[in-house]
């Protein structure tokens, strides 16, 4: 896994070139990434490009200057509310792209739509005959797709709570993973029948069937421009497909060949984050087919746990460290989040692989985690039938290294928190 020997390649992006000018040689280090410059650099690599303001990019030329802003080593997400109502384990939870809704699907064959602000239950979508493993929001936040054990993918109109007339039928076993294309015209689904289907949403027909894997397809995702599809399977492979031709462009295999349970493109579309059953989350540079980062510290050996990306910045309540430079204050870093089978949700800094926070609150497996629109909220769900929402709070002033994490993570919703959070279905 030593990467240092990789030669420079022509035709890199300017950004990349710029980084290569840095003393570190521009190659993200697999280990020993404690070096400040390397950190900064790696950050640029992994950070979603849309988050970079123009000013920032101008400033990028002087990496030394940036080091003035210290990256927070801790995050402080506190429990904000707990959404109850599902009768069985909650398999997936997703913020709608517009941030207004939270959708959760459960093994009790229902989908619940919650208001993300108040936590009020807006809809309970019923219609599946078996538990629902996966959901996906359409980019316009109006349609929710759900994939169930009854082999059917249903599309739900969120405004009415009704299922659209034509379900997507074609899988031969449980539908295990779903993703909408960024245009909303296509849906990719992975199933226990080892196939990846590309669906035309409008006609509810299969556009393409990708002969993908030799084991259940546990995760699928679209890259942000919709041209690539990633799929992963318990057979240990991650494959990158060309959406338009159906060609497999790349197959990513880790030498351990551990079953991959979730795959997700980074927001800038240059990496994939994959969770494997060897309790690792790996960040792959899929173009080069190598692992860039490996995140550890959680437990994931049995369940198919989804991952999420989020960003965090310097908080406002620490003006002392900021030298008044406007642009400097806008610095954002990215974190990756993954649930754990011991009830935690672990947040890693993408570049340094440090654990930023562990969100403790669930009993049993945390099956899904999603980060909200402004990165101020995280939702998690698990086999304990609950959905928990976490809100970002400024770090307490007297912060010990581990103590704060533990206490913050563990404390139960108290009276100071909105009581609306604990909702039971009537």
């Amino acid at each position: 896994m030593s990467i240092t020997a990789i030669p420079e390649r022509p035709g890199r992006s300017p950004k990349r070139k710029r980084s290569e000018d840095s003393p570190n040689g521009g190659i993200p280090q697999y280990d020993g990434a404690t070096d400040g410059a390397a950190l900064q650099y790696a950050y640029d690599e992994e950070m979603p490009s849309e988050l970079q303001s123009p000013e920032e990019q101008e400033l990028d030329g002087a990496p030394a200057k940036k080091q003035k802003v210290e990256r927070p080593t801790r995050l402080n997400y506190v429990p904000y509310m707990t959404l109850r109502g599902h009768k069985r384990g909650v398999a997936a939870v997703k913020f709608s792209p517009d941030g207004r809704w939270i959708a959760s699907c459960s093994a009790d064959a229902t989908i619940k739509i919650w208001d993300s602000k108040t936590g009020a239950l807006a809809h309970t979508l019923e219609g599946h005959l078996a538990g629902i493993s996966t959901i996906a929001w359409s980019p316009d936040s109006k349609v929710l797709a759900s994939g169930s054990d009854d082999k059917i993918i249903r599309l739900w109109d969120i405004s009415t709570g009704k299922c659209t007339a034509a379900p997507l039928i074609g899988h031969h076993n449980y539908v295990y993973s779903l993703a909408f294309s960024p245009k909303g015209n296509m849906l990719v689904s992975g199933s226990y029948d080892e196939a990846v289907f590309l669906w035309d949403v409008r006609t509810a027909r299969i556009m393409r069937s990708l002969p993908a894997h030799s084991d259940p397809v546990s995760g699928v995702d679209f890259v942000r421009d919709g041209t690539l599809v990633a799929s992963c399977s318990s057979d240990g492979l991650i494959r990158i497909w060309d959406t338009s031709t159906g060609q497999c462009l790349k197959t990513l295999v880790h030498e351990d060949n551990a079953p991959v349970t979730s795959v997700r493109f980074s927001p800038n579309g240059r990496f994939v984050l994959a969770a494997t059953l060897d309790s690792c989350v790996r960040l792959w540079n899929y173009v080069e087919g190598r692992v860039v980062k490996t995140y550890q510290g959680h437990k994931n050996e049995k369940f198919s746990i989804s991952t999420a990306f989020g960003t965090y910045g310097v908080e406002d309540d620490k003006p002392a460290e900021v030298d008044g430079d406007e642009e400097e204050q806008k610095r954002d870093w990215a974190f990756a989040a993954c649930g754990s089978e011991d009830g935690r949700t672990v947040l890693w800094d993408v570049s340094s692989k440090e654990i930023l926070q562990e969100l403790k609150g669930h009993d049993g497996v945390v099956l899904s985690v999603d980060v909200g629109l402004e990165d101020q909220t995280i939702i998690t769900c698990g086999n304990d039938k609950t959905i928990k929402m976490w809100k970002r709070q400024p770090l307490p002033v007297t912060n010990g290294t581990n103590g704060t994490n533990g206490t913050n993570g563990n404390h139960e919703p108290s009276a100071t928190e909105p009581t609306a959070g604990t909702l039971d279905e009537g």
Partner: protein, 1282 residues
């Protein structure tokens, strides 16, 4: 790239001959440099040739327009244009062109100066500055000029000069900076005596300088070839740099997106908010136009275009809409524009059909205007050239207006009066050119030659005879002013007097009268206007039939004739057929049989049926019922009237006895029940019978021709209900699948759902078409619609027939041809539907085939029981009698109820036993709640029938019905049932489901969503195909488990396919032992072949090895000197050499497979199995690791006892060869130079693209739980690999 390529192409094509030509012209030019006329001619001829040239080669518009410019000045210009282009695109031209330019620019400057001296503007700048437009005036003129000869050029150009000013011809040769081509540019000294050393001093002085002129050459050296042409594919645009990828790579869009909707975020002009209207009368006032268009939305702006030269309206208008709120509804400009286009296009304003098109940015409007202007200009030009006299320079109308002192001022209000004042100026019969140039004649021309009266036709008008006001053109404006208070249309004048014409409408008539009343005998100047009012137009006007009308009439007649002729022909043919086919004896027999049958039928009907009818319909019998339902005495009831009629005509037995029976009592019993059209049928039948006397004995099962429509004796509320019914019928297409399902459920007759339950149901089936037919009747009175020509052509005489009379095929044709909305088509469709239905029903009848007597007998019973029926209805259960009745029925259904109870118990037990699936459990536990909730409704749903022959169950239970909520609701009919159900579930705990109704509704929704059906179903709504419920509920909460191969083959489609094929084969083998024998034989053969192969290989091995050794030694000899590694290389190569072409691809057997890419003969070596050679121990370890890593396939090949070839990570493609129980290959271990190798040999002849297989020969693990299923699909498959 292609663009530049094309450009270059165009240039090189048009220019290279052009330059030559021009050169020749230049030469001519130098020869006669001073003569004006020559220059002129020359220039024109030059342009002429070049323009001709451009006609031939007009590759781009630029060239064309440049070349076409006819004027002498533009000769230079065209040159310079060329030069510019040459510089811009083709550098090869530059050398020549620049030389040309230099000589010409001189002339150009001179020319310019001369023209300045002439006091004329040098107009080269005109066309120089403005980019040439294809439709711009100079071009059109140029083309016109081109048509004229060279000699006429000057004169022809003159009249055109009134529009945009034209450059005058150069009258004087301009001084040139450089000598013109052909003239000596200078001289060169060829011999200088001063420099000649041979000469003496004297001689030197005497001698003169010898010099030679240069520059007189008439030719220029050929331009150097274009270097770019050397690039291959340059002209075709296919060249590209090697290192750069082509931009022309086809990138198919993954998906065809619908066009983006325009919303507030979109940029660009947005959806069209304006429409362009054309085709209306140019003199239509803007207000009228606005009024017309404001029906579709609020009009923001009406822009009616005028000709900039004449000021006349072009009849093209741009109407812009704005967003408004009308009647509380928001009406957007976009919608308005769209509506205007769809609805107003092709409509008429006045007499003119107008064309309306949406116009997003006004471009269309501009184009139309441009076209119209161009046309007008051409027309004017034509008119001018036709008349020798020079036309007046200013626009005619304006001149007239200005000159005519008495005319209304130019800024007169633009009302109808202001507008129409121009109307008489343009007499419709003459061209505009005939307008006299001087005002006097203009006024005089207002006096029309022909009598106005004959043209007025039906329009109301007022005459002022010439006796009262003298005929003078100048009077008209005064008269108009005088009458401006009235809304007249025209004021016309002929020698008999003035005619004030009004609008041809009621309003116009009123206006006429008003005008007459108020102005008659009024003063106009000194004259008294003695008026004559003709409110209804010219009293003598005789209308001649319009040509359309004549044509239509003719067509009608023709059609009629044709139909008649065809009918006659048909008759002829039929007659002939009959004469040919019908033997007289047979015919007689047939006749006899028919008569006999009729007689018998008649007897039955008159002797048996009629008395029964008579009796049953006796009003006295129904008094009790009537009284109960509060019906009036039947004597004034139309129903009774019907029966009376029936009775009256009892002689001919009604053809619909069975139907009538069912209809009457019911229609009496519940006057306020929802209208069921079936029940009306009986009465209608009577009406029908009134008119159709003789046909009573026709086969009853046959469909009768549709009865004539019912009169309006029924109340209006029936009409109303039928209206909905009809709507429902025609709306078929608009409904979604789900709604269709539901509606069908409701709309189809109840009896159809369970037609087997009682014999009566068959009637109601038969009667459905009747009800439909009634609707058909209703349509009849609606006005006949108009069919267009195409439809007429297609359908011809069919249109004249009633749909009921059409043959089915014809009906289909009608339905297909006519638009869906056409009433006729709807009728035809309905008729078609009815026929299909009745055909189905006919079939049904034949199946039941009940004797007709039964109907009668049943009817008697029925009538007898009819009395009791109302009481027996559960909704009216207050009566004592009813209670008794109920008790009776209870007895009847006791047994059934017991069964039901048992079913409930069974269900409860089942639910208890299967406590896992929540849904079932809930169903079991809550149904009594459900039942309570729904019981009341249930009672109404229950269907009660009568038995006649022997006691039967009142309710037939559907044993197959699934007992979900719908099922229970269907099953439990009344309180009694409910009580039983309650009892049955008494020991079940209640299940908390929240709101029971909501829960029930949701359950139903879920069911309908998944099964597509509402109401009770026969099949369990469940997950189709392979499904193993997860313990935790869903796959994701369950966690990742290893899926055994065995399980996979239950759901993976390709495995299922193979498995099915194998099962089929096995079944076949079982059924037909010979096949099995064959298979066995086959297997034996394979085994034998294998044996042979082994021996053969040992033999052929020797041969091969010998050959190889020979080869190797040979190669060794050649290579020995060069390379010491040759030995290794040869060893490596020797197996490779004989390898066959194979490829790997997805396999039906498992994952990947290896396929032959050429035909392989038996015993041929195919491929070597290559991999890492490991020891047993390592292999075991690796196997475990691979297992852990989830490598699905095993690529370990045991070569010898402790030597295993592992091809998993490092290995050749031979590892992809799959197992088969009847393989076409075999793996042999051969020793090549002392090392064992695994080689795959062909066992059979293998054809191309066949999959290669060999027997893995795994050890049998008969007791193992995870045996690897064999998917080879061969006949003698053993089922498992191990």
């Amino acid at each position: 790239m292609s663009h530049t390529g094309g450009g270059v192409e165009g240039v090189s094509r048009s220019v290279s001959p052009g330059t030559l030509k021009r050169k020749r012209e230049m030469a001519g030019f130098t020869h006669s440099p001073t003569a004006n006329t020559t220059a002129d001619k020359l220039s024109s001829s030059n342009t002429f040739t070049s323009s001709r040239l451009s006609h031939g080669t007009s590759a781009d518009g630029r060239t064309t327009t440049k070349y076409r410019s006819p004027d002498s000045d533009e000769m230079q210009q065209s040159d310079s244009g060329d030069t510019l282009r040459g510089i811009g695109s083709a550098s090869s031209l530059a050398s020549t062109a620049s030389s040309v330019f230099s000589s010409n620019s001189h002339a150009f400057a001179q020319n310019r100066k001369a023209s300045l001296m002439n006091g004329l503007t040098p107009l080269t700048s005109h066309s120089d500055s403005s980019p040439p437009k294809p439709s711009s005036p100079p071009t059109s003129k140029a083309t016109a000029n081109m048509a004229s000869t060279n000699g006429l050029l000057a004169t022809a150009r003159l009249p055109a000069s009134d529009t945009p000013p034209e450059p005058p011809a150069a009258h004087k040769e301009r001084p040139r900076m450089l000598p013109s081509p052909g003239k000596a540019k200078g001289y060169r000294v060829v011999w200088d005596p001063e420099l000649d050393g041979k000469l003496s001093k004297e001689e030197r002085k005497r001698a003169t300088l010898r010099k030679r002129e240069f520059g007189t050459e008439k030719y220029e050296p050929d331009p150097p070839p274009d270097p770019r042409l050397a690039i291959p594919g340059y002209m075709s645009g296919q060249c590209r740099a090697k290192d750069r990828p082509s931009k022309a790579i086809w990138r198919p869009a993954p998906y065809n997106l619908p066009p983006y909707k325009v919303d507030r975020y979109s940029v660009g002009p947005g959806e069209p908010q304006q429409v362009v209207a054309l085709g209306f009368d140019p003199f239509l006032p803007e207000a009228t136009l606005k009024l017309n268009f404001s029906t579709y939305g609020s009009v923001a702006l009406v822009q009616s275009k005028t000709d900039p030269e004449t000021g006349s309206f072009l009849g093209i208008a741009l109407i812009k809409y704005r967003d408004t709120i009308r009647d509380g509804l928001e009406l957007t400009a976009v919608a308005a524009a769209k509506r205007a286009e769809t609805e107003f296009n092709g409509e008429r304003i006045g007499l003119h059909t107008i064309k309306v098109q949406v116009d997003r940015e006004g471009r269309r409007f501009k184009r139309y205007v441009e076209n119209a202007l161009k046309k007008a200009r051409e027309e004017r030009a034509k008119g001018r050239s036709a008349s020798i006299a020079p036309p007046p320079p200013p626009p005619a109308v304006a001149a007239i207006r200005a000159a005519d002192a008495s005319a209304p001022p130019l800024n007169a209000p633009k009302g109808p009066s202001g507008k129409s004042s121009t109307a008489p100026i343009k007499p419709p019969e003459g061209p505009r050119a005939s307008i006299a140039p001087n005002p006097k004649s203009a006024a005089a021309s207002l006096i029309e030659e022909e009598l106005v009266l004959s043209k007025i036709k039906r329009k109301p008008y007022i005459t002022i005879p010439h006796a009262s006001v003298p005929v003078l053109g100048t009077t008209i404006p005064h008269l108009k002013k005088r009458l401006k208070a009235y809304d007249w249309r025209e004021v016309r004048l002929d020698k008999s007097g003035y005619y004030v014409v009004f609008e041809d409408s009621k309003r116009g008539e009123d206006e006429t009268e008003r005008c007459f009343n108020e102005c008659n005998q009024a003063l106009l100047f000194t004259y008294k206007m003695g008026m004559e009012c003709q409110k209804y137009g010219n009293p003598n006007y005789e209308r001649s039939p319009s040509p359309e009308r004549v044509i239509v009439a003719k067509q009608k007649r023709e059609n009629f004739d044709r139909l008649k002729r065809e009918d006659a022909e048909d008759m002829e043919i039929e007659k002939k057929n009959r004469a040919e086919n019908m033997a007289p004896v047979q015919g007689a027999l047939e006749q006899l049989r028919i008569e006999l049958r009729d007689r018998i039928m008649g007897d039955i009907k008159t002797r048996i049926a009629i008395p029964v009818f008579h009796e049953s319909l006796d009003p006295a019998k129904h008094t009790a019922k009537r009284r109960k339902l509060g019906l009036p005495d039947p004597s004034d009831n139309d129903n009774n009237k019907g029966s009376a009629l029936l009775f009256h005509k009892a002689g001919d037995t009604p053809p619909h006895i069975p139907k009538g029976r069912h209809g009457y009592p019911l229609s009496h019993s519940k006057p306020l029940r929802p209208h069921d059209p079936h029940h009306q049928r009986g009465r209608k039948g009577e009406r029908e019978r009134d008119r159709l006397p003789a046909n009573a004995f026709a086969d009853e099962r046959r469909r009768r021709p549709a009865p004539p429509k019912a009169a309006h004796t029924r109340g209006l509320h029936f009409k109303l209900q039928q209206m909905y019914a009809e709507e429902e019928d025609s709306d078929d297409e608009r409904r979604t699948s789900i709604t269709r399902d539901t509606e069908d459920q409701e709309s189809r007759p109840l009896s159809r759902a369970s037609r087997t339950s009682t014999p009566f149901d068959t009637d109601s089936v038969a009667e459905t078409p009747q009800h439909k037919r009634r609707k058909v009747e209703d349509w009849e009175e609606e006005e006949k619609e108009v069919f267009d020509g195409l439809q007429k052509q297609l359908l011809g005489h069919l249109l004249h027939k009633e749909p009921e009379d059409l043959a089915t095929r014809e009906l289909e044709q009608v339905v297909n041809t006519l638009p869906r909305t056409s009433k006729y088509a709807i009728r035809a469709r309905t008729e078609l539907y009815i026929r299909q239905r009745s055909k189905d029903d006919d079939d049904l009848f034949q199946i039941t085939s009940r004797p007709k007597f039964d109907f009668v007998a049943d009817y008697v019973n029925d009538v007898a029981m009819a009395k009791q029926e109302p009481e027996s209805r559960p909704s009216v259960d207050s009566d004592v009698k009813a209670v008794k009745e109920k008790a009776k029925r209870k007895r009847k259904t006791k047994k059934q109820l017991m069964e039901e109870q048992e079913a409930l118990k069974a269900e409860a037990k089942r639910a208890k036993a299967v406590s896992k699936p929540i849904a079932q459990e809930t169903v079991a536990k809550i149904e009594h709640k459900e039942i309570e909730m729904e019981a009341v409704e249930e009672l109404q749903h229950a269907r009660y029938k009568f038995t006649h022959d022997k006691p039967r169950r009142t309710v037939e239970d559907d044993r197959d019905m699934i007992l979900d909520i719908d099922g229970w609701q269907e099953l439990i009919k009344d309180d009694e049932d409910l009580a039983f159900a309650k009892k049955a579930f008494a020991d079940e705990a209640r299940y908390d489901i929240g709101d029971a109704k909501l829960w029930a509704w949701k359950q139903k929704e879920i069911k309908s969503l998944n099964s597509g059906a509402y109401g009770p179903v026969q099949a369990e709504t469940g997950i189709e195909g392979y499904y193993v419920p997860n313990l935790t509920g869903c796959a994701r909460t369950e966690g990742v488990k290893k899926i055994l191969n065995e399980e996979k083959s239950k759901y993976l489609p390709h495995r299922i396919k193979v498995q099915r094929a194998r099962e089929e084969r096995q079944a076949q083998a079982k059924a037909d032992p010979s096949v099995a024998a064959n298979a066995a034989a086959e297997a034996a053969k394979i085994a034998a072949a294998e044996k042979i192969a082994s021996t053969a290989t040992s033999r052929s091995n020797r041969v091969n090895n010998r050959r190889l050794v020979n080869d190797i030694t040979l190669q060794r000899q050649t290579l020995a000197t060069a390379n010491s590694d040759a030995d290794v290389a040869i060893r490596f190569n020797q197996l490779k050499k004989r390898k066959k072409l194979v490829k790997f691809d997805r396999s039906a057997i498992h994952g990947w497979g290896l396929y032959a890419e050429e035909n392989i003969a038996v015993t041929d070596l195919i491929i070597e199995y290559v991999g890492e050679k490991v020891r047993q121990k390592i292999a075991d370890l690796r196997e475990i690791r691979y297992e852990k890593q989830g490598v699905g396939s095993s690529y370990l090949f045991r070569m010898m006892d402790d030597e295993i070839v592992d091809a998993t990570k490092k290995g050749g493609i031979a590892r992809f060869i799959n197992h088969s129980c009847s393989p076409n290959c075999t793996a042999k271990i051969i020793k090549v130079e002392g090392t064992p190798r695994i080689v795959i040999y062909a066992l059979k002849d293998i054809s191309k693209n066949e999959e290669l297989t060999y027997d893995y020969k795994f050890e049998r693990e008969l007791g193992s739980t995870d045996r690897i299923p064999c998917l080879c699909g061969s006949a003698n498959c053993k089922g498992f690999l191990n």
